[in-house]
Symmetry: C2
Subunit: 300 residues, 2 copies
Amino acid sequence: MTTSAGTRKGEHVRIGFIGLGVMGTPMALNLLEAGHRLTVHRVKERSQVLVERGAAAAASAKEVAAASDVVVLMLPDTPDVEHVLTGDGGVLSGLAPGSLVIDMSSISPVATRDLAQRVREAGSGYVDAPVSGGEAGAQQATLTIFVGGAAADVDRAMPLLRAMGRTITHMGEVGAGQATKVVNQVIVGLTIEAVAEGLALAEASGLDLATVREALSGGFATSRILELHGQRMVEGAFEPGFRMRLHRKDLGLALAAAEHYGSDVPATRAVVSQMEDAIARGWDDLDHSALFKVLTERSG
Amino acid sequence: MTTSAGTRKGEHVRIGFIGLGVMGTPMALNLLEAGHRLTVHRVKERSQVLVERGAAAAASAKEVAAASDVVVLMLPDTPDVEHVLTGDGGVLSGLAPGSLVIDMSSISPVATRDLAQRVREAGSGYVDAPVSGGEAGAQQATLTIFVGGAAADVDRAMPLLRAMGRTITHMGEVGAGQATKVVNQVIVGLTIEAVAEGLALAEASGLDLATVREALSGGFATSRILELHGQRMVEGAFEPGFRMRLHRKDLGLALAAAEHYGSDVPATRAVVSQMEDAIARGWDDLDHSALFKVLTERSG
């Protein structure tokens, strides 16, 4: 497939963007501000700004696809992506051959390979490009993006990804982006637990948390998470941020991948159990740094 | 106690240094090079350099103490410190009232409070000042040091600590330095496990480890450990560094402290179990980043 409704530098692309949430809205805005033509649907109050700045509103995912050469997805979970792509009135029912789907949601690597197969059979390309960096990264176009796909498809996606992110790495074939995101979420989740268990023990030992966090910075314990999430724990400030339930979902993908490949993840399993405890206590919409709260606020 | 065999800036102190291992030897050398008078004992090949540069060699811990105003300890474990301080021919049997003991070993915070009590009853001061930063930090005098003790004792110790370290924090009363070191080891151990479980899953998923490590750097997964220990895992380079069995010892202190204070450390317990697996497989003297090896090399 060499037809490419251009994504060379400076060229403007007809982009459909589906999934206008906390992350998707600022990401779509960055594409719009890079000069691309945007079609969206399900515009709510948060995403009204896109229409005000020139995005077209379509009535369905099918219509979004029909109006676009590249369709970007930024949805909550695997079933959402499956439904939007393959359901009645979904993207595949409107997509012209030679188009490109870029899925920036964080979903199952295994399901990703199946979906990519469906899209390819319809004559279009597929790239998985999940992100890390949160709302601030989405707003400032500084997201870290893990990319999976065939080289030609990735080349085509790259100029668009550059409008949304800063550190963009092609990890391998379709699914490799999602597999890397799963690895990222394992490391982030466990590092938060590391800081949470350490600071909870510090608090129990009668140490001053702010002094401990400061004293540890500069040594081997130094991490972005000690800096940012550690500060949240010191202050007891757990408004999100990245929600506990979404990280729990990502670690579900990690446990599935670990089982699939026979890889051992004993501490990750302990973190999942802590997250389930948090969710059972109604803290599903708190920031994931509330793992500290699970350790320090004993139940009943 | 206001008598202070001076540690004002520029003043030279009679220091006894006990524990001339991989860490202790370069630390003692830094004190010597700062112009202090040093007495040591149990000089081996590694520490011969100290005598060559002017340190006096004594026959026992008692003689070291008798020749010194400040005695610095850098020993492997709690029983070693107890023996050197309180045993026959130990420090307490030679120490003149008005002296100062600085224990830079990593030992039990609870035992530390008992030992400090014994030293105080003998009319001297006690400071616990465990370190982080490894052999390189000891050599370059860039150690992170966590200090516990009464303000006057800590003031007296501070100029000597500055000759050995860079980030030096007074954490609270006697034992607070050791308690902070325990917290540090929990966070470091769990962060290594975080990177190990992530990279092991990456390897199982068929991703290229070097690319994954690079791709994750810059996002929330960023840590000193992803940078340094992650590189060891990518290369399979597990010569120490910091030995598995010593980190296991430190986490034993963490489990004891957690039990003592009723603090929950579920993922730390999972890491201890992994470390015990490593030790059972004969990897006790490998670097602690060999936690990756435990996950990726299944036993027969």
